[in-house]
């Protein structure tokens, strides 16, 4: 899973049927201190997060393991909102 920060959302009207009703968020990877890194993904939000929140993103075929994304054309999904990061 990738630790990331939601930096925006994307609106698409014409899209594949399997994406109807799905919220698309723009997520940028962050380091453990919260600094933004270069890579970003467009991920489907199945839990309801807002801009600025730290989240966990699952990529690849594992992204289709949630009830909301099963058998859909989705390869990136926000699966959790981060409450705290505990380091040694």
């Amino acid at each position: 899973m990738v630790l990331g920060k939601v930096i925006g959302s994307i609106v698409a009207t014409q899209k594949d049927e399997s994406l109807f009703g799905k919220k698309l968020m723009l997520v940028k990877a962050i380091d453990l201190e919260g600094n933004l890194l270069e890579p970003f993904v467009v991920a489907v939000d199945v839990i309801g997060v807002g801009i600025g929140e730290k989240v966990l993103v699952v990529n690849g075929s594992s992204a289709r393991m949630t009830d909301e994304t099963k058998d859909k054309s989705i390869d990136s999904v926000i699966v959790a909102k981060v409450d705290s990061i505990n380091l040694k």
Partner: protein
Amino acid sequence: MFYGKVIGNITTTIKAKGLEGKKIQIVRPIDMNTGKELDKFIVTLDVTDSGIGDYVGYEDGKEAAWAFEPEEVPTDATIVAIIDKVNIDK
């Protein structure tokens, strides 16, 4: 399977149904050739009882979800073993 060290953990409340009750760890991958920790990290689920400081083996990709079969868990990285010892014949 990849080799790494647990350096921390993450707590979450709002999450996908499949992640409920799952432990989330932060793992720093280790270079097998040099034995040194790499300057990156990966967030993983955990089917073992690992803690901070433990050396672990983790799966990534779709295989990571299979560790929880038959449950459907959305994860692309899962700790599947705690490493006791590494033997390399030099």
